[in-house]
Symmetry: C2
Subunit: 493 residues, 2 copies
């Protein structure tokens, strides 16, 4: 067994350590010299590129266009929306100067005190304020609406406790910012993008999600309503995988963005914003991977198939490579990405372990005897099952197998979620059950006080008020007061 | 004539104003509330996306992979390479604090003095230092080499005088950073990427470029040799469109990056870096556009064809739209992007002017009579020539036309460059000629002093020492000392 695998902590032993080991050893990301900022390594970035390409296509299909707004936000802009500044002020990177100069003592450089900015600039933690200050100039009449912009960008939130992908000071994301003439249209947009996120999570990441509404405590700073998708990780903790906010007229009022409607009346514009980030890579890892390494859904794997030749001499290697060239061409012709690893400096066993660690969905191995027999060994990463099949038609076999893997890992995640989702009807039971992890479906009286008490006493929060499913009323598990429907409680990332 | 066009300053009247008007009126970009930072509007960003997609494909074809490194650079890192810090220290955005707090007097927020960083962070002006501090951990042996990484990112250089796209405090770019075992391999990489840039400029942007080497005065801060492509704008000024640097072992030494070579000896790693930025959009505009607006090369136009219906009533409009649907399907089937503008609130004349302003390569107009006759009016943006052709086979006609436009605007730019490139053999003549713009091919004695004197006296600099072309030696136009070959002088952006 390869060195890397030996050192991968098992999930059972220490889930947090397993996650961190995996991110490092699978070459996805690492911590940088700058506190809380990560380096996204090529293999990790390749997953992000796959996610980006797919999401970008989905945004464009729903009528959105990309633009780019400044990295910096004047400090005064942040203050314009009261809840917004309250939410972000405590974790802002602040630019105060625009020049360095040589240290008078000749050692290195120091900040030039002469080059102090009149107004400090905040490195964007999110872009509502700079974008709505811009939209003010773009919007005069109902004819200028809707505006359906998205931005791919980096943002900075000065988190004190960081974890690779899950919570980092700088992260990559997309943020959609839309402007509408009516409340209904803005609400419809926020719901539509929630559906796009849920589709992406389920069909591409193979991660089942619950679509819901955030309670007031968990709402985005500045939103009227926050919609979210919540995913369950293998350790029974929940992860917020995407949010879509109905912002009402809050930012339009903060930046005085009004338009003349069809009746020639001046009105404030309605807004949404929605985003997903490199955090999704963390979700992807934690939802599917195992003690051998990553398990990647075929639709997001940087390469879907790896081919490893098994040979004793150059003659065998050349004969195998020749055959493999044909197979690669056949796979590529039907849109399957493939890597051929015929490097000489590693043994097949090392390569097998390495590509298991990296979560490549399908491994093909070909030896001299396979050439004679016209066979090939196929291993699927999700179940680790091997079989030997005929080379003839291998590309279609692999195509079906990739589809099956995509379906299977989604089903496995869904089955797991189902198995740890249960209804709980008393607070005593809740305190016992929450220790076991999973989603607890409970009645709640709708107050922040009750939610806060539960959080203090159990570390569990309301992940969302589900949009679909059981709407039977009941009584709050803590106060016994009326509850309109069960909500989802869990501990979370 | 549409309002926007009336307000577009002509090139002859004021070239700088024409450029700025065009960027604003064609909806490419605008200045933001943050000094020197621009908002790239959807139409401008769509051009950048086209550039990105093409360049990214070319980088991947040449074996490169993408990664992402932190936005912030510890101040001490910048100081490690002496020339590098000298080159960038004077234009750095500096993060000094990581938190805001409510102003004690209750008005807005202020920087929390308690949240001062121990070491200031620089917003990356370029990433050599943070990347080489990372590569130190990635490289131990010759087996770890080469590393061929690229990053798509935003960078900040606090320029005092900014112009949309050409020079902004924040801009978008890609930066390749490669690590090699030998000097030869690194030099070959730097030259290879220069060729990629030149190919991209000529085949996609339709902008002819001169490939060359920078003189010491114009070299990248920290490079041993800077290769560049230089393009000529319509006002006779030169624009550096891309650079590729051979960094020698400078950054490896600054960050102590050594590897064990095949003979088991410890050696410093050899490096390159190379980049192009959103500045290319500025070059694209200034190379081709005219007094009617943008002229975009078909390969980078957000949409290549616009179709405008001409109708008197809904019945005509519907009949035209039905026919147009077929044409759109035919165009899309052969990979041509098309927009159909059947909006009711603007007249055809307004639309014609608008799409000329936006540089859409081909305009199709269809009226009721065209429907009867089976004809369609085609206008090509580069020459503004119109003709009426049969609808039958229109998609192939348009395909050929787009190729012809791509070729023609390249040829036009090349002819212009040829017409304003001349050999000058005396300094007196030089002083007269430089006022007329264009490239002056002159002998130079190879010293920084002479170059500096010419710059002081004429505002012209050496744009590059051309890699190809005439290598006949001669005598310096200023000092009469020996010169190995003519070099390119020009005023520049």
């Amino acid at each position: 067994m390869a060195k890397e695998l030996k050192e991968l902590t098992s999930r059972e032993e220490n889930y947090a350590q397993w996650y961190n080991d995996l991110v490092i050893k699978a070459d996805l990301a690492e911590n940088s010299a700058v506190r809380g900022c990560m380096v996204i390594k090529p293999y990790g970035y390749a997953i992000w590129e796959k996610m980006q390409r797919q999401l970008d296509d989905m945004f464009k299909e729903t009528g959105h266009i990309n633009a780019y707004f400044p990295l910096f936000i004047p400090k005064s802009f942040l203050s314009r929306e009261a809840d917004h500044v309250e939410g972000f002020a405590k974790e802002c990177a602040v630019v105060t100067h625009y020049r360095l100069k040589t240290n008078p003592d000749g050692t290195g450089v120091v900040v030039d005190p002469e080059a102090k900015l009149e107004e400090e600039l905040i490195v964007r933690p999110t872009s509502e304020t700079i974008i709505w200050s811009t939209y003010k100039n773009w919007i005069q009449s109902y004819r200028d609406l809707p505006i359906l912009c998205n931005q791919w960008a980096n943002v900075v939130r000065w988190e004190m406790r960081t974890r690779l992908f899950l919570r980092t000071a700088e992260f990559l994301w997309q943020e959609g910012h839309t402007a509408h003439a009516t409340e209904e249209e803005a609400l419809e947009e926020a719901r539509k993008m929630l559906d796009v996120y849920a589709d992406f999570a389920e069909k591409y990441m193979a991660v089942p999600v619950i679509k819901g509404i955030k309670s007031a405590n968990e709402r985005f700073a500045g939103a009227v309503e926050t919609f979210c998708i919540e995913a369950l990780m293998q350790d029974g903790k929940s992860l917020q995988a995407g949010t879509s906010h109905f912002l009402g007229q809050n930012f339009a009022k903060a930046f005085d963005v009004q338009f003349i409607d069809q009746e020639n009346k001046l009105q404030y514009v309605w807004a949404t914003s929605w985003g997903v980030s490199t955090r999704l890579i963390g979700a992807l890892i934690m939802a599917h991977s195992d003690n051998n390494g990553l398990v990647l859904p075929p639709k997001l794997a940087p390469f879907q198939v790896v081919i490893v030749p098994i040979y004793k001499n150059d003659e065998q290697r050349n004969a195998i490579s020749e055959k493999v060239a044909t197979i690669i061409a056949q796979l590529k012709a039907i849109g399957i990405s493939v890597k051929y690893d015929d490097s000489n400096n590693r043994k097949p066993g090392w390569k097998f372990a390495e590509y298991e660690l990296k979560g490549v969905p399908v491994r093909l191995a070909i030896g001299a005897r396979d050439l004679e027999n016209g066979t090939i060994e196929v291993m699927r990463r999700d179940t680790l099952k091997k079989e030997t099949v005929t080379m003839e038609g291998i590309e279609l076999y692999v195509k079906d197998l990739l589809e099956d893997i995509q379906t299977n890992i989604y089903k496995k995640a869904l089955d797991f979620r189902t198995s740890v989702t249960r209804e709980v009807d008393s607070y005593d039971e809740f305190k016992v059950e929450i220790e076991k992890g999973g989603f607890l479906m409970c009645h709640w009286d709708g107050t922040s006080e009750t939610e806060e008490r539960i959080k203090q006493e159990t570390k569990a929060t309301i992940r969302c008020i589900p949009l679909n499913g059981d709407k039977t009323p009941g009584k709050c598990i803590v106060t016994g007061k009326p509850s309109a429907q069960r909500v989802v409680f869990a501990r979370n990332y």
